[in-house]
């Protein structure tokens, strides 16, 4: 379980997070949603320590991340896997080397064990026989899959995904969502996903936090979100006239 308590963050004069508190549960896909500029990415980066919050605390199973020193944070980070928006695969390394990197750096496994673990992860994301390919030879969806494989290679307790569907077609997005959901259940991880894709919300949103202008505006699950009838969240979900019309017809 991950808990954030009253997180605030400003960049110069601009206040981006204005005191956000939320709890993200184990074995569930926890989604942070909101419009562009609502503070989703900064919240996610504050949780993993890529951005230092001005105030507030981040707790990993009760362990205060913000109060940890560099060495303690390094230990926690070995329990964290992260899927970045563009995959963030290392360009100069092959797929196999990308996934093997955390094993090379942090484990004492022998080469055969490492290769077995890499192949297991590649199989898990349906990317077998791509070991020798470079990131430049992969499509957007394939990069995300390899990114997921790299994120889970050390069997993390916490998985963070920053806009996992951005730049993907709707069908591939569904495949990536399903993969994240399966892996979350399989590894019983605490998964936090930052997205503005309503398909993801309805497909895998076990727990949803809606941010608006740096504040937590709403919290619930995918069933509750459809009961919303007005306000900022309603405008976010039914952003287009087409969807509003569809909802009106469904009610009639």
């Amino acid at each position: 379980m991950i808990e954030i308590r009253n997180i605030t963050k400003s960049f110069g004069e601009q206040s981006v997070l204005k005191g956000i508190s939320a709890t993200f549960m184990e074995g569930k896909c926890n989604l942070i949603i909101g419009k562009s500029g609502s503070g989703k990415t900064v919240t996610l980066k504050a949780m993993v320590g890529l951005v230092e919050p001005d105030e507030g605390d981040v707790l990993y199973d009760g362990r205060s991340f913000t109060k940890m020193n560099f060495k303690e944070r390094k230990m926690i980070r070995r329990e964290i896997g992260m899927l970045f928006q563009g995959g963030a695969l290392f360009d100069s390394l092959t797929v196999e080397e990308n996934i093997r990197f955390p094993l090379d750096m942090f484990t004492t496994m022998n080469p055969e064990e490492k290769l077995d673990q890499v192949n297991f992860c590649l199989k898990r994301v349906n990317m077998i026989n791509t070991n020798r390919k470079y990131p430049g030879e992969l499509s957007g969806g394939m990069k995300k899959r390899v990114g997921i494989a790299r994120a889970i290679v050390l069997n993390p307790k916490y998985l963070f995904c920053d806009e996992p569907n951005s730049g993907l077609d709707p069908k591939t997005s569904l495949v990536i969502d399903a993969l994240i959901k399966e892996i979350t259940l399989e590894y019983q991880m605490t998964t936090v996903i930052n997205t503005h894709d309503m398909n993801s919300v309805m497909g895998i949103g076990d727990h949803v936090v809606f941010l608006h202008e740096g504040l937590k505006y709403w919290e619930g699950n995918r069933d509750e979100i459809m009961q919303i009838t007005d306000g900022e969240l309603f405008d976010f979900i039914f952003a287009s006239d087409f969807l509003k019309d569809l909802r009106r017809r469904a009610k009639m």
Binding site: R77, F84, F90
Partner: protein, 250 residues
């Protein structure tokens, strides 16, 4: 960012770059990869330019000394040797590398920053300044002096070829000049310059690349700044090394 903030950021990066590595084997592998990138990648350009620098030094000095007529032509070997060891080989090689290697490093790290690859390393628990910056500086300190020694050797050969082909002096005269008044201190000064230049060539672009924020435009800007700043620093450091060291050991 103010000048003082830049200096402070640079010094902090350098301090972290040489902190204890997580896994020595991974760092040495990265250092060897960087050595190959910097060294092998720069060999052809260094070879061509240093050979012709030696040749043109021999031809131009011979032309001027011959017109004066008071200086024996066997001095040419000594002039080319001293010129290459003390100034031309270290400085011109360093400026070339500042352009080639410096822009490569700044662009590589800048792209990694923008595409979140550096963040990915951080999330894994890797000390990125130590893993990405340290090996580059270390590789540069090992490889750049080798390249400069090679530049001196090829420059001397170029000087011989230029002078002999232009009928300014004979091979025997050139060899006599090369062996005349050889001071070990000159070589020591050259190596001091090599190490200082190597450090600047790698560390300044590392800083500019590592601290990029924004997009592709900023990467280009950082790359240009890296080359400009390191070239200026090289020339200033070159002056101070010559000023303080050349008279002290000779």
């Amino acid at each position: 960012m103010s000048f003082l903030e830049e200096i402070g950021g640079y010094l902090i990066m350098i301090r972290h770059a040489f902190s204890k590595p997580e896994k020595a084997a991974m760092y040495s592998k990265e250092t060897f990869r960087q050595m190959a990138d910097i060294g092998v990648g720069s060999l052809p350009i260094i070879a061509i330019i240093s050979t012709f620098i030696g040749a043109v030094t021999a031809v131009q000095f011979s032309y001027q000394l011959k017109s004066i007529g008071l200086v024996p032509m066997w001095w040419m070997g000594s002039i080319v040797r001293k010129g290459l060891i003390l100034e031309l080989a270290p400085t011109i090689t360093a400026l070339l590398l500042a352009g080639k290697v410096g822009s490569n490093i700044a662009t590589e790290l800048g792209s990694m920053r923008i595409s979140e690859q550096i963040d990915a390393y951080e999330i894994m628990g890797v000390n990125t300044r130590s893993y990405l910056v340290g090996p580059k500086i270390l590789a540069s300190i090992v490889v750049v002096p080798m390249l400069i020694v090679l530049a001196v050797a090829l420059g001397i050969i170029g000087g011989w070829a230029g002078g002999v082909l232009g009928h300014f002096f004979t091979t025997a005269e050139y060899v006599r000049g090369l062996q005349d008044d050889m001071k070990n201190w000159d070589v020591v000064v050259m190596f001091i310059k090599c190490v200082c230049f190597a450090f600047i060539i790698a560390s300044v672009p590392c800083y500019k690349g590592y601290t990029v924020s924004g997009g592709a435009l900023e990467i280009g800007r950082a790359s240009t700044q890296a080359v400009v700043y390191s070239s200026i620093i090289l020339i200033i450091v070159n002056f101070f090394i010559a000023f303080f060291l050349l008279d002290s050991g000779g």
